[in-house]
């Protein structure tokens, strides 16, 4: 009695498995994603940075109201006189850190959103609060649609989006290249505008890449021979040059494929055109109705029996 339906059930399970396998294979090919070099970004040259942190204060000054960024106290600072962020947070969009290899060897490093070409945060956001502008390549956040699920934080390999854990009305905070503040007014992000050492170059990705390659060519001994962000996770619009291994500066060693390509391929294979769920539903309906009909006769018999019993 149960056998044909069990077989059908196993068939459905098999189909799901096959779909997943197909998704896995397709993901390895990774064909869909192409880097757009016409978008804008920043090139940060760690060897030029003097660690003055002017970029940090400019960022808070310009975006303070917009991102409701507040000052962060250090533990020793009971009077609250200093803004002393230890890391990127719900109050800090960009940060300069000093890495010391030894007393003689050290390097500054600037943290902020990498503005990925294929951003994981945009791929996972269920309500499209994270978006990537196809023209400029800016990865932006909209607090008016965000539900605060923090999936973007789980997804980001650079751990960039931050959440305001201490607020009753929290937001996700990350760099948006001054999209609504300095950029429309002055055509440049606030941090790049104020940098006195020329460590931050602002412009089109293709120009930044060209400049980075030129610097690598002209000073072969000075730099690690790698432009961080050129291909990492499908490419980022925030590029780095440094004299020290990038993973020591807190920039993780990553593959070239974007994780979003992998996950989206599997999800799309399962849900393509909504065919699989509809097919599953109709197959199950067919089986269930057949089973109900088969059982309906018996059930009727039972009912008459109990009815008779009741009359006695």
């Amino acid at each position: 009695m149960g056998k044909p339906s069990r077989r059908q059930f196993l068939k459905i399970m098999g189909a799901t498995g096959a779909a997943l396998l197909a998704g896995k294979k397709a993901a390895v090919a990774n064909e869909g994603h192409k880097i757009n070099n016409e978008t804008i970004g920043m090139l940060y040259d760690a060897t030029k940075c003097v660690g003055c942190k002017a970029c940090m204060s400019a960022c808070k000054r310009v975006n303070g109201d917009y991102g409701s960024l507040s000052y962060e106290r250090a533990k020793f600072d009971t009077d609250g006189l200093w803004d002393a962020p230890e890391d990127l947070s719900g109050s800090t969009r960009t940060l300069i850190k000093l890495f010391k290899q030894s007393e003689q060897e050290w390097s500054y490093v600037k943290y902020s959103c990498m503005h990925c070409q294929k951003p994981s945060c945009v791929s996972v956001c269920p309500v499209a609060a994270m978006t990537r502008d196809p023209e400029t390549g800016i990865v932006d956040y909209n607090k008016n649609t965000c539900i605060g699920c923090r999936y973007c934080q789980v997804a980001c390999a650079y751990n960039i989006p931050k959440f305001q854990w201490d607020r009753a009305i929290p937001q996700i905070v990350k760099c948006d290249l001054c999209k609504n503040t300095n950029l429309p007014k002055k055509g440049i992000s606030a941090c790049a505008e104020v940098c006195p050492a020329g460590a931050i170059m602002f412009g089109k990705r293709k120009d930044l890449l060209e400049e980075a390659e030129k610097r690598l060519r002209e000073n072969p001994g000075k730099y690690i021979n790698h432009i961080y962000g050129a291909n990492e996770l499908g490419g980022t619009n925030h590029l780095y040059l440094a004299s020290m291994q990038f993973n020591k500066l807190g920039l993780p060693t990553l593959k070239d494929e974007a994780p979003a390509e992998f996950s989206e391929k599997i999800q799309h294979t399962i849900y393509k055109g909504f065919i699989a769920p509809v097919a599953l539903y109709s197959t199950l309906c067919f089986i269930a109705l057949k089973n109900m009909k088969k059982h309906g006769g018996e059930e009727g018999g039972h009912d008459t029996n109990t009815d008779k019993g009741g009359h006695h």
Partner: protein, 429 residues
């Protein structure tokens, strides 16, 4: 399906366990209030490195799997055509309804900006690339489906009720006010009765399509719960990060579903002093090893294919949790291969408990233990965070305890004896 298969469990509602559960629930809800006043950071140890703590891991990812009893039973009854399990479905649906409803509730506690959740209903905001979107929509739809599946139990009660308690209370209130209870209230109550009597047979006719929807939706979102972690390829340990996550989560929720149906039946029979449903349970228990064996084969095959078997046996932190999860599930299933053990309530309980623990640990491994955002990040749940989860679970058990005492949910004892005796007239004679 007849509605005479079920009965109200006649017992006192105010028991000592009721008081304990109520206290835990109230503590939990007080802490939830604190969370909304002072922010999530005030009650939890979550951080930017570990943005998902035990609320998502337990309440949502694991809780909905544990609430898959209704799903697993529906597959068994309507798809594999084992109608003789039908008397067990209402209590399974009731626990599923609580599990999913409270998972949805705890998501609203967990998300930072719940007032924006209406965006899930705004088509222009839909982001179909997101596994989270799929999970959210499916879970909301499934919770609605579960309520509709449970509606017959409520409707039959409404149909038969005389509103004695309510009328008594109303009389008391009006008596205090020194007034007569107006006639129209009685009329209204009769209207409700009529409406219930009108709706029930109509609902019965379309119920099968709702039940099948209730099988399709969990198939979708339980696999998508696995898909959620596909993107964390740099953070989730390779022992768990695989393209098979959706498939593994789907099978995982099924064997947890059947195991939890066993646990639930044993526990409620024990608590409500009813005879154990050994025959039905040993039948259920036969299915579980088939599912776990498929699951274990996919896990091992996938690890071998990706060349990670060495990591699984390295006995480091991650490997130990992996082996623990693996052994719990394997041992639990191994016990169920023996016919003698399948027919003993004690062994049924032990093996089902092992499988639920192992299956739940798998979900914890994927969502929390195997998740490593990088150096310097640590997570262990805060006491307040745990108490909120405990409060939600306590509320779940509390609701179950109360509802089986006012609605016909548990299988009727004499019909079960009839089934066992093999002739339906037996009892009447």
């Amino acid at each position: 399906m007849g509605h005479d298969e079920y009965q109200v469990h006649e017992a006192k509602i105010l028991t000592p366990s009721f008081i304990v559960l109520l206290t835990l629930t109230l503590i939990g809800f007080a802490l939830i209030a604190l969370r909304f006043i002072k922010g999530i950071g005030a009650v939890s140890n979550m951080s930017d490195g570990y943005p998902w703590g035990i609320w998502i891991t337990y309440d949502v990812a694991t809780g909905t799997a544990i609430a898959c009893g209704g799903y697993a039973m529906a597959i068994l009854i309507y798809i594999r055509n084992r109608m003789h399990y039908h008397p067990m479905i209402r209590s399974a649906i009731l626990t599923s309804m609580f599990g999913y409803g409270l998972a949805g509730f705890s998501v609203m506690v967990d998300v930072g900006r719940p007032w924006n959740a209406y965006n899930f209903f705004v088509p222009s905001k839909w982001q179909v690339n997101s596994a989270m979107f799929e999970v959210a929509v499916c879970v909301m739809a499934y919770t609605t489906v579960l309520i509709m599946e449970f509606l017959p139990a409520i409707l039959t009660t409404l149909e038969k009720t005389e509103w004695k308690t309510l009328q008594h209370m109303l009389d008391l209130v009006y008596g205090r006010l020194g007034m007569e209870r107006p006639e129209r209230i009685g009329d209204r109550l009769d209207k409700v009765k009529e409406l219930a009597a009108w709706a029930r047979p109509r609902l019965d006719k379309v119920l099968i399509f709702i039940i099948v929807l209730g099988i399709t939706l969990p198939t979708m979102h339980q696999s998508s719960l696995g898909s959620l972690l596909l993107i964390a390829s740099t953070k989730l340990h390779p022992l768990w990060h695989t393209g098979f996550l959706p498939l593994l989560f789907l099978i995982n929720c099924m064997y947890i579903g059947y195991s939890i149906a066993i646990l639930e039946s044993v526990l409620s029979c024990y608590a409500f002093k009813r005879p154990f449903e050994t025959k039905e349970l040993s039948g259920l228990a036969r299915i579980i090893p088939f599912l776990t064996v498929i699951w274990l084969c996919v896990v091992i095959g996938d690890l071998a294919w990706r060349g990670q078997l060495g990591k699984a046996l390295s006995f480091d932190f991650y490997s130990r949790f992996f082996l623990l999860e693996f052994c719990l599930i394997a041992c639990g299933s191994l016990l169920l291969f023996s016919k003698r053990k399948r027919e003993s309530v004690r062994w049924l309980f032990v093996s089902a408990a092992l499988i639920v623990l192992g299956g739940a640990l798998y979900r914890f491994n994927v969502y929390l233990i195997g998740f490593n955002p990088g150096k310097g990040w640590h997570y262990f749940p805060a006491l307040a965070e745990v108490m909120i989860t405990v409060g939600i679970v306590a509320f779940e058990i509390l609701g179950y305890q109360v509802l089986v005492k006012i609605l016909p949910v548990l299988p009727k004892l004499h019909t079960r004896e009839q089934h066992a005796a093999g002739h339906p007239m037996g009892e009447k004679a």
